[in-house]
Amino acid sequence: MIEFHNVTKSYPDGTHALQNASFSIEPGEFVSIVGQSGAGKTTVARLIIAEEFASKGKVVIGGWDITNIKHRQIPVLRRQIGVVFQDFKLLQRKTVYENVAFGLEVCGTTPEKIAKIVPQVLKIVGLQGKAEKFPEQLSGGEQQRVVIARSLVHRPKILLADEPTGNLDTITANEIIDLLLKINQLGTTVVMVTHNPDIVNRLQKRVITIEKGKIIADKQKGSYHL
C-alpha cells in the first residue's frame, strides 16, 4: 500500500530530513512512526501526501509512483488519503457539517449524496448534535473528531494521522486512538506519526522508529524505545 525505496530528503542547506529510508506498509495495517522531534517522521507523512518530494529514492502509494508526481495530479492523490493533523487544520469559517462535506465536495460528490453521507459519518465519530457549530465552539477532542470525519468521509484506503493526539489530554487522546483503531478494523490502513510513548505502547501494533533521519527499528509488535 505504501512503499519507500531508499528515500532521502535533503534541503538546500545540506541537512537531511530523511536518509535512505526503506519500508513497506501492507493494506489493513496499523503502523506507528515514532521518533523525537526533528527525527524525520513528519517528513515521511509529508512525502506520502506529496507536500514534499524525495530528493533520492522512490515513493509508491497504492502502486502509483509519486516520486515525480505532476502538480495537477496531487489533488487526485490527496483525495485517496485521509489526513489527520495535530493542529486539526479545520476551515474556521465553515461549520462542522461544511468541514466534513468539504472532503466530499472536492471529489465532486453530488449535494444529495453529501447530505446522506455527512450525518452518517458525524454519527460514527460521535458528533451528531454538533453539525451547525463552528470549530471554535468545539473542544480539542471534538475538533479532532471533525478532522477524522472529514478524512474518512470519502472512504480513503489510507488514513495518515500526524500527531493526532498532540494537542489533547490523555482521556481524549485515548478516545481518538480508539476511534483510529475502529477505523483500522473496518479495513483502512492507518499510519500514525507520534512521539507519545504511552499510546504506542498501549497499541501493541507495528512500530517504525526514526532517529536523525534514519530508520533504526521496524518491529511488528513494537513499543516506544528511544
Binding site: R78, K89, L90, L91, K94, V106
Partner: protein, 303 residues
Amino acid sequence: MSSIIRTIRFAAQHVWRNLWLSVVTLFLLVLTTISMTLVVGLNIVGGQIITAIEQKVEIDLYFYQYVPEQDVLDAQEFVRGLPETQSVQYTSPQDALKEFKESHADDTALLASLSELDDSVLPASITIKATEISSYPAILESIKNSPYQEFVDRTDYSDNSEMISRIEELTRIANQSALVISTIFLIISIIVIFNTLRITIYNYREEIGIMKLVGATNSFIRLPFVLEGALLGALAAGITLILGYGLLFLTDDSVRAFFEGYNFSLFAYAKTYWYYFFFGEMIGAIVLSVVSSMIAITRYLKV
C-alpha cells in the same frame, strides 16, 4: 451544475462571513468606478463644449454688390467642391435684409429708414462650414487663389482665427491631461483594489492551504474568490450608476444654466447612454477585481 451552485454558495459565504472586509472592498471599488466615471464624464463635457464652439465657427464671405448672383452661386459651387468643405449656405441680399429686419423687429426707426432703400442694400454672402476646425485656413487659401477672390468684398473669419487656434490648443491639452489623469487614476485604483483583495485572500491563506491538503484543485479554490470579485465588481458598478444618476439629476439645472445656449444636459446624456456607462463600469470593476484576486491567490496555492 452542482459545481456551479457550489461555487456560488462558497462565494456568497465568503461575502457574508467576511462582511466588513467585503463592505470595505465594495466601498473601494465604488470609489474607483466613480473616479473613472468622473474622468470619462469630464472628457464628455469637455468634448461637448469644444464641439459646440467648433460648430459656431464658420467663414462668411461677403460679395461686392455689383457681382451678379450667378457668379456668387458659381463661387458657392467652387467652395462646395473643396475637400475641406462640409457645407456652404448662400444668403441672397433679399434674404439678408429679411433676416436683418426680423432680428431688429423692435427697432421701428431703423425699419422705417430701411424701407426707404431698395431690397439689395445688404450684400450677398456665403457661409462656409469646414469638416474640421483645422481646415478653415486651407479653404481660405483655395478661395484666395481662385478667380472668385476678386468678387469678395469682405471675409468674416479673421476674428475667429485666433479663437480657433486656441480651441485647437485647448483640445490638445484637454485630451492629453485627461489621458494622464485617467492613467494615474487607473494605476492608483489597481494598486488599492489589488492590495485590498490581497488582504482578503491573506486572511484566507491558512484555509487555502487546508483545502489543498484535503485534495482541492486550484480552480476549485480559486473560482469562489473570482466569483466573489465579479459579484463585488457588478455591485460596485450598480451603486456607482445609481449614485451618478442621483448626482446628475440633482445638479442638472445648474449644469444646464452653465451651458446656456449650447443645449447640453449631462443628465440627459447619461440617460441616453446609461448602458454604456453601466457596462463600462461593470466590465472595468469586474476585470479589476477578478484579475487582482487571481494574482493575489496564486501565491497561496503552492501547497
